[in-house]
Each structure stands twice: as structure tokens, then as C-alpha cells.
Amino acid sequence: MIKAKDVHFYYGDFHALKGVNIEIKEKTVTALIGPSGCGKSTFLRLFNRMNDLIDNTRIEGQCIVDNKDIYSKSIDVDTLRKNVGMVFQKPTPFPKTIYENIAYGLKINGYKDKRKISDIVEKSLKDAALWEEVKDKLQQSAFQLSGGQQQRLCIARALAVSPKVLLMDEPASALDPISTSKIEELIYTLKKEYTIVVVTHNMQQAARISDNTAFFMMGELVEYNDTKKMFLNPEKEITQNYITGRFG
């Protein structure tokens, strides 16, 4: 489903990713872990070409989503971003109503039938485990929601346009334990339908939610393994030192 083949990435002269090879299976959760600045968020952002928005960057190698090299000239970036949704560390709702936050993406993707839009809004909010909490206040500002609810709203917004892949960059790091637990439950439920890649600094979270874990360090993919294996018996000593907190 998602592949990286000998991917190198540069911010100007800085070599941020060094020959990363990975194959992520469909409908699984993959956690990207590693110390700050190791390249995991850079790697995540490659898959919906968010790094294109940063000046003076360069990529080598191939990033493949659904058997297509997403950096080939024939790729329409808007379509790619519809298929590969992204959720950020801080919730980023639009300054609109809860309803409009979900409907907005549908409208710019050409949906006009109000009934259909309402159905998708409801389904997306249900899939994001938010419907019961907001069904009576859809016309309220999204800013009136709690941080955890805002984050689930952002997930619902990403789900509304029917992506195949969800990229999440520390989606629960700014949330309290209850909201974090809801997001984790949600990720677990969503993997039945979506391929999910999550960047996290929380080792326990990576262990709890992911099927596979990739450990990055200084731009290199050090180890990519089944999460259970990774957290019980990692192959590389450096991985063990990192996950047990003996790093550096």
C-alpha cells in the first residue's frame, strides 16, 4: 500500500532522510518513533507531499502509494491529499461551525447534494466517535469544543473525503489522558478501514496502538518490525537503548 524506496530528503544542504526503505501494509497502524529531529515527521509528510510547501527542499528515491509514485509528474497533489489525509499535533479546526468543518472538504471536492453532505457529516462524526457528543450542536463554532473533541473533529474532517491513508503527527500529544485514550481507541477502530501511520514520542502509545513500529535515528530507518517484537526484543541494541530510555 505505502512504500518508500531508497528515499533521501534534503532541507537545503541538510540531509534529513538517508536512504529509507519501508513497506507499510494496507489497513495496519504503523508507529514512527525516534528522538526529536530524527526525520520521522519529515518522512510522514512525504506521503501527502506536505514537504512541497517548504522552500528549498529536495527528494530522491520513490514514495509509492497505491502502486503510484506520488512524486511523478502525472500525480495531482489535491487528489493525493484527498486520498492521504493528515492530522496534526495541535487540533486545527476551521473558524466555522462543527458541521461546516466537515462539509467544507466535501464542498470543495464538488459535492452539492445537501442531503448527501449531511449524511457524510454524520457518518464521519460517528466514525470519529464524536457524533453522540455534538449531534445537538452542529451549528456551534468548532472552537467551543474541548481539545480532544477538536482533534476528533479534525479526524472526522479527514475521513469525510474518504481517504485510504491517514497520517497522524503526534495526534494526542497535546491532549489529556481521557482524550488521548479516545484518540487511541479511535485509531484502533479506524484501522479496519484505513492505513494509518502515526508519529509519536510516547513509547507506550506506540506499543498500544500500532501493529508495526519503525525506529528512526539521524535520518535513517534503524529498525522496522512487528510492534510486539520491537517492544519485547528489538533486533538492534540502539533501538533497545532508545525505547528503554537509555539513549544518549
Partner: protein
């Protein structure tokens, strides 16, 4: 030393102390049994309570460590192994207490003195002590390359138990009521030692899980 490492170090130290106490208990139970020394038997029963208390303390420390440090990889394997090994050691100490009661009873002293050599008890004790000491050393050095050979020692104990059973049952028709009762008690004693060997085997499996991250359970 980081707090995490300090906690693990203390946990290992506590298990090591328990281990040494249990080795000493087994050694002294041999002395008590072979010499019919009831004073040592009393002492064994007293120290068994200390072993129980260390086991409880290790349990508590492991619970706290898991709750506070969320261990993974080698740290997780260590804490799980420490919990299980302490349980096995506590059971060994229980069997030693059983032997102490046998000695304190003094009921079958003369019968036991007559048969102990023929039953191969000396070899059973030597094998158990060897297993306990070798595993303790492996735990200290975090290196176990002789797991299979230690595990095979358990087979020696089983063979000796079978031999003892055979020896006593062959002679059963020559025994009077007192001797039959003592033969039964001696076989029960053997069973305690055989179970001790089983626990030593389980300890080896735990060490291999901790050190080499491999499971030997039900494989050898």
C-alpha cells in the same frame, strides 16, 4: 545511574539475596537431613518466613516498577523474570520447609540413615545445588550458554527418583509397618526434591527468556 537503572539494580539485588538464602536453605536442609539435626531444621523453618517476606517485597517492587516505569524490551523481560523466579525460589523454600518438618519429626531417623546412601540422595542434593548455583551465576553475569546442560540435570533427578521408588518398592514386602510408613515418607521427601529440580528447570527457562529473549517452555 539513572533512576530506571537504579530501580532495576535494586530489584536484581533483592532477588539475588533471596536466591542466596534459598541455596543456603537447600545446603542446610541436606545437613539437617543427613545428620538428623533438629536445630538446623528449626532454623530452616524460621528462615523460610524470611524468604516468604522477600518474595512479597519483590512482588510489590515489581508492581511498582511496572506501574511507574512502563518497562519494555530487556527491562520488561527482566521484571517479568524476576517476578517468576522469585515465585519458583519461594516454592523451593517451601519444599525445604517440608524436609525440615520431616527431620523435626525424628520418627523415621533410623530408617532414613539406613537407606539414604542406597537411594542416591547425596547425588540428588549435589545436582539441585549445582542447578541453583549455576543459574544464580548466570543471573549475575547475564550470560547463559549452558541452559540445555542445566535443564538436563533435571532429568538426572527424575531418574534418581524413579530408582529410589523402585528400590523401596522392591523391598516393601520385607518391611514391617513402621518401615512401610517410613518408606512412604521417604518417597514423599524425594518428591519434594524432584519438584525442587522442576523449579530449577523453570528458573533456567526464565533466565533464557530474560537474557536471550527466547522461550524454552515446553520445548525441552
Amino acid at each position: 545511574m539513572k533512576q530506571n537503572d537504579k530501580e532495576l539494580f535494586l530489584l536484581k539485588e533483592k532477588l539475588s539475596t533471596m536466591w542466596q538464602k534459598v541455596i543456603s536453605q537447600v545446603e542446610r536442609s541436606k545437613l539437617a537431613l543427613f545428620n538428623g539435626d533438629t536445630c538446623i531444621a528449626e532454623e530452616l523453618l524460621y528462615i523460610e518466613k524470611e524468604v516468604n517476606s522477600i518474595e512479597l517485597s519483590i512482588d510489590k517492587n515489581c508492581e511498582n516498577y511496572i506501574a511507574l516505569f512502563h518497562p519494555v524490551a530487556i527491562d520488561l523481560r527482566l521484571v517479568l523474570s524476576v517476578m517468576r523466579i522469585s515465585l519458583h525460589l519461594e516454592r523451593v523454600a517451601d519444599y525445604v520447609a517440608g524436609i525440615a518438618y520431616f527431620v523435626k519429626d525424628e520418627d523415621c531417623d533410623s530408617f532414613f540413615k539406613k537407606w539414604k546412601e542406597e537411594l542416591g540422595l547425596e547425588e540428588v542434593y549435589t545436582t539441585i545445588l549445582n542447578m541453583l548455583t549455576t543459574t544464580w551465576l548466570a543471573f549475575q553475569s547475564e550470560f547463559i550458554d549452558n541452559a540445555k546442560s542445566i535443564l538436563q540435570k533435571d532429568i538426572i533427578i527424575n531418574v534418581l527418583q524413579d530408582k529410589a521408588f523402585s528400590t523401596l518398592s522392591t523391598n516393601l514386602h520385607n518391611f514391617d509397618n513402621y518401615e512401610i510408613k517410613c518408606a512412604m515418607k521417604t518417597l514423599l521427601l524425594f518428591q519434594k526434591l524432584e519438584r525442587t529440580g522442576d523449579h530449577c528447570k523453570n528458573i533456567v527457562e526464565e533466565l533464557v527468556f530474560y537474557i536471550d529473549a527466547k522461550s524454552l517452555k515446553h520445548k525441552i
